[in-house]
Amino acid sequence: MSQPFRLASGGRIDRTRPLSVTFNGKRLEGFAGDTIASMLIASGQHLAGRSFKYHRPRGILSHGSDEPSALLSVDWRADRGPGRRDPNNRASVVEARDGLVVDTQNHWPSLETDIGAVNDLLSPVFVAGFYYKTFMWPRKFWDKVYEPVIRRAAGLGEAPKVPDADRYSNRHAHCDVLVVGAGPAGLAAALAASADGTRRVILADEGCEPGGALLNDVTSSVGGTPAMEWVAESLATLDARENVVVLPRTTVFGYYNHNHVCMVERVSDHIADAPEGMARERLWQVRAGEVVLATGSHERPLVFENNDRPGIMLAESVRSFVNRWAALPGNDLVVATSSASAYRTALDAKAAGMKVSIVDIRLETDCGPEFAAAREAGIEVRTGHTVIRALGKKRVSGLVVAKIGSGGGIGEKTTLTCDCVAMSGGWTPSVHLFSQSRGKLAFDPELDAFLPGTSVQAERSAGACRGVYDLAAVVADGAKAGGGSAAPEATASFTGFQPVRVLPTDADASRVKAFVDFQNDVTAKDIKLAVREGFESIEHVKRYTTTGMATDQGKTSNMNALGLVAGILDRPLPAVGTTTFRPPYTPVTFGALIGPARDELFDPVRKTPIDGWAAKNGAVFEPVALWRRARYFPKAGEDMAAAVARETRAVRTNVGIFDASTLGKIEVVGPDAAEFMNRIYTNAWLKLKTGGCRYGLMLREDGFVYDDGVVARLAEDRFHVTTTTGGAPRVLRHMEDYLQTEWPDLDVFLTSITEQWAVIALQGPKARQVLEPFVSEIDLSEAAFPHMTVKTGYVCGVPCRLFRVSFTGELGFEVNVPADYGEAVWKTLYEEGQKHGITPYGTEAMHVLRAEVGYIVVGQETDGTVTPDDLGLSGLVSKVKPDFVGKRSLARPDMVAADRRQLVGLLTRNPGEVLDEGAQVVDDPSQPIPMKMVGHVTSSYASSNCGRSIAMAMIDGGRERIGETVFVTTPAGFTEATISNAVFYEVKGETADA
């Protein structure tokens, strides 16, 4: 396609840099500075998509981010392979560059011929909310028939199907003043705010070029120079100031608590030869001292029959295409307006060579100087006229207009032939961000607009977004908001409009389609229907009709809808309510929101110092909390079961080596450390001797088990506490909470030392033999170093806290060495262990081994509803201590109830059968559903050492039921099992039992 509608000169395009894109498979030409919308218009192509519900042909309504209709699928870099195609891009904001592949959406087989348009014929049925009233019979048909059909018809573009090839970045920034919008108000504000070089100022604008509405303006002047020259000078001034950051292509989309403002910068989509790896978008999270909102306003469409025909555009958008992009949206223009500002469009279009006439809803007496200006330019103006309907289908071909009689009657109709309509129903200030900041909106009936009222955060609005429309006033308002006093002179604008909701017509209003929300196909009659059915709050109307809920979030439609409802109900507009604006201002990619948090940076994996060795030695890993842990170390040909059987046997016959570094570790230090421990744990600590270890049980204040672990007393005033792997952060927080807020009198310090110590567990009859050659200053003999004691010394010459503890029941040591030495010590012990048949084992074998001897795992046997007594651990609950965290709760009626679930063992009738963890237990498998469940399986393993399967379970009153038979669910049904004690293996030789 060539560019028949491109002007030979003018505009902000660079004719020395031609470019082309692929549009629906054809070549579309343009210049640097174009958008897809301006290229389409320059080429004479107005049909740009099909509507959501009725599949009506749609064109380009606007020139900015409020575009509801021209939505395109774009493959941003088709030449670089898949992964860069996305739907629902607004043609008016996609910057043109070589290589873009764009396609229109929501039609089949083609844009020109769309079968879905049959919906337009069925539209008398498809009114607002019709689906609530039907599709109910037969009942099963909703899921299977109706809904799939509705779903296929709905939706706009196609979701991406392959992973995104682009990357996204993010950045945090702080500033004294954030100015949102680089139109005349924003520029003036930024200039004023940054005059003091100590104040950090950020100026962000969603457009690719600063200037705002001045980009469309070829007649105004500011400070005695043409407006865009003033913009250029202002930018040069700002650029020269080191305290200013100007960010074009940056949309401020969210205004959150405490002046936390989020914006997204389009970094590379507009660059044809962007380097590989350059971020596509950047999320800015700005904490601003003050925010100046200079976000401008949105033009309102007029609501009349067929107001959605391609070629019918907003008046300011017509002006923009003519002036900024030197692209004429047609030859014959009718300007239909109730707003003075549209006269500027008429004048500029005429000056650019279009044939122009004006239809003004207002009476001549209500017009301002714009009327004389139009007359002077030789433009025919019909005042006091309404538009009855638009003609044409895929392109507007005319407007039927009529004089409005003094009593509101419709006079004789005239058809104005045209190929373009510029419409304006006035202006709606863009108060989105103000509203997001929780500021209260106030309705101004004079301006027919909601304006910023009471502020909640440190922010000010300036210019059109607070209803100031005259250019001179806008510049002054901006300067003032930026803290300045003086502002340059500027040209006066044509301002003022008469609010109209639906244009007067003599057509049957219940038949005509006059669109309020273009994208969601909501017409005036839909809104009337909703009100008729009792939906009176604007929120109800929105939800019933879906007006304002499309991808443009009602930027162009909300005020027309609100006014229409108010009019029907004959209530003041604010009484109908206003929409609360929610982030984002315009849609934001998930990619920008997540930024670099993808793949390996999604949730970084915690690895122990021995992880590298495990990986090299064939470990299969599993995620445990944020850590990855070696689950088992298969030898060639082994599956998990075989590997675990071998590893568990090795521990009981020779020796195993296990990486326990992930265990949480907290050091509790201070004169009152023992007293603190006494209050936090259920058991007693005052009498634990230095060098002794004790198993500690910790409750929440509600009496349920919170965490457990072995605690060593290293000195009178120093405890080395271990926690579960997942529990470390919350246990430290829990301890700090009580220490700082309840017992500030205690002189204790808490330090997380999880990362400081690598922990190597040696478990098994030969553990001592492996360790002995490397230990200095510690006597390893049973007499000198009994079970549940701790000593400090050296292993391999490295300072060490050596624990004589066991989580397997076997002779065991846990070697704590500084993390940096963890791998070296491990390797040394492993080498030495070769003589003794040492076997590295993983978490799976660890679980089996501990279950064999009946040790619980908090989080597996317990689930947040379990008391110490439920676990058979009431012996660990001090009867002597007057108080500890959770003690009082243990005395509540339900905590001492007889039928509580208790920890027991389960032995399957068939010793080879391994129960499912999580399986439920019943007494009678033949009872009817719903069945009475009496327990559940918490842990279950094939135990090579026991020569059979073993399981732990929580059973109602289980300790009284040892020896009884129960039935346990399996994937296929039930299996029989006997309740047993939860200790399955008796350790031979030198045991760990204390």
């Binding site: 959501f52 996305d86 629902n88 689906y131 609530y132 009233k133 039907t134 109910m136 009942r139 909703w142 899921d143 296929r152 939706g155 706009l156 196609e158 979701a159 199907k161 995104d164 682009d166 959150y256 608590n257 936390h260 989020c262 999270q285 219940s510 038949r511 229907l529 009792g534 929120e539 019933y544 879906t546 991808t551 929610r582 984002p584 849609p587 934001v588 990619t589 990619g591 929101l593 997540i594 993808r598 999604f602 949730d603 599993e622 995620p623 509600d702 009496g703 349920f704 989080g859 689930d863 947040g864 509803t865 009626p893 339900d894 963890e917 999580g918 399986a919 019943v922 559940h936 918490t938």
Partner: protein, 417 residues
């Protein structure tokens, strides 16, 4: 009430839809009602509907501070499921599920209940045990729930990544095929229309200011912005604002109100066939009939009535969504919002009596109230009609916070609702 039917719709289409009536009236409050329900959300409206339709109690008013369905009813991610672990919860939510299954027909209002299946993903060993425990318990309670292998998860939800190389690989999933979604607004409107047709007064823009009590302390009515309204019994169903209402009545509740956020994407053609919940990574996602991906995020950590949370909550949720569905990073967030949810210490609701005679409460649904709407209304109607709890809601009493008999699904499974 004029019945909705295809025939009626076609007739109206022929005559320009001029004949539709109001779906509910806008009456002035009467001097006195048998029952006044405070709160015009789904639960309150359902309560009114079942009071009238099941118990014949029609002298009922639902009073609503704003517009009906404007709170959490219209702000949730519309997920419906009943695969809860404990018998008490399973009983309550399955009761609701059975009512959902015939609700459109019962109300003569298409609430678009779509049993597309709810798939809960397990990402670690703990999840696997927990979900299997649910699956087995549900099976014995007559509730459908099945365990799927990663490959079966992928077959059920083709967009899902089951690569073992991602941060939290999918180890399997629990699928409730009868679970799904419904059109949240329609639930409120359908109950309102049905209740109204049976004589219930729905009074919007009416805020409760205080409780009127007889000399013996029992309930006599409520003071409102539209005057005093007498009532023999009062049921408070005010979700996130329950604490506020009850404090006006002089009562404290074991609830805290926190923001819960959600978001939708731009609408796209069908791409997501079911509901997926991933607890370990804090995300749930489905696709609406309109084509938007509907994504539920977490709660903020502090008490707030602002219906606005921090963006870090949204970001965190999207991190997880895009880890499981990396093809969605180019999708765009269209709208995000917050609701105020009332959370109890055990994350289970409170449905029953209060210390004041004649005053009843139904609150504490936290993040999971929508799915319970029909069941909650049904049992609360029973409670209000008879003065005693239904056997299904008896365990959900206030007294459990004294005895310690909590119904702690969250602690049992670390499963969000």
């Amino acid at each position: 009430m004029r019945r909705f039917s295809l025939k009626g719709l076609l007739q109206e289409a022929a005559s320009g839809h001029q004949g539709w009536e109001r779906q509910w009236r806008a009456p002035e409050p009467k001097k006195e009602y048998d029952v006044v329900i405070v709160g015009g959300g789904g639960h309150g409206l359902a309560t009114a509907y079942y009071l009238a339709s099941v118990h014949g109690v029609t002298n009922v008013a639902v009073i609503e501070k704003g517009w009906i369905g404007g709170g959490n009813t219209g702000r949730n991610t519309t997920i419906v499921r009943s695969n809860y672990l404990f018998d008490e919860s399973a009983g309550l939510y399955e009761h609701a599920m059975k009512l959902w299954e015939g609700l459109s027909q019962e109300l003569n209002y298409n609430v678009m209940f779509s049993q597309r299946g709810v798939l809960m993903l397990a990402h670690n060993h703990h999840d696997v045990i927990s979900f299997k425990r649910h699956v087995y318990a549900n099976r014995l309670n007559g509730i459908d729930n099945e365990w799927l292998s990663p490959e079966e998860c992928k077959a059920f939800c083709p967009p899902l990544t089951i690569s073992p190389d991602i941060r939290y690989p999918v180890l399997g999933g629990a699928l409730q095929r009868r679970g799904g979604t419904a059109r949240h607004d329609a639930v409120a409107w359908g109950y309102a229309r049905g209740a109204d047709a049976r004589g219930v007064d729905i009074i919007q823009n009416c805020e409760v200011l205080g409780l009127k009590r007889h000399p013996d302390g029992s309930v006599a009515g409520v003071e409102t912005t539209r005057g005093t309204i007498g009532a023999k019994r009062v049921g408070v169903v005010a979700a996130g604002h329950t604490g506020v209402v009850m404090s006006r009545f002089g009562l404290r509740m074991p609830v805290e109100s926190v923001p819960l956020q959600a978001l939708v994407s731009e609408p796209v053609k069908p791409v997501f066939p079911c509901v997926v919940m991933s607890n370990a990574v804090h995300a749930y996602i489905s696709q609406s009939d309109k084509g938007e991906l509907v994504i539920g995020a977490g709660t903020d950590q502090y008490v707030s009535y602002s219906q606005q949370g921090g963006i870090q909550i949204i970001n965190h949720t999207l991190d997880a969504i895009c880890e499981l569905f990396p093809q969605f990073t180019r999708m765009r967030m269209l709208r995000s919002w917050g609701g105020i949810v009332d959370v109890t210490p055990d994350r289970s609701p409170i449905i029953g009596k209060t210390p004041i005679e004649g005053l009843f409460v139904n609150c504490g649904w936290g993040t999971g109230g929508f799915k319970a709407t029909p069941g909650s209304g049904h049992v609360f109607a029973h409670t209000l009609a008879t003065g005693e709890p239904h056997k299904i809601n008896a365990p959900f009493s206030l007294d459990r916070f004294r005895t310690g008999r909590l119904i702690d699904e969250a602690a049992a499974a670390a499963v969000a609702h």
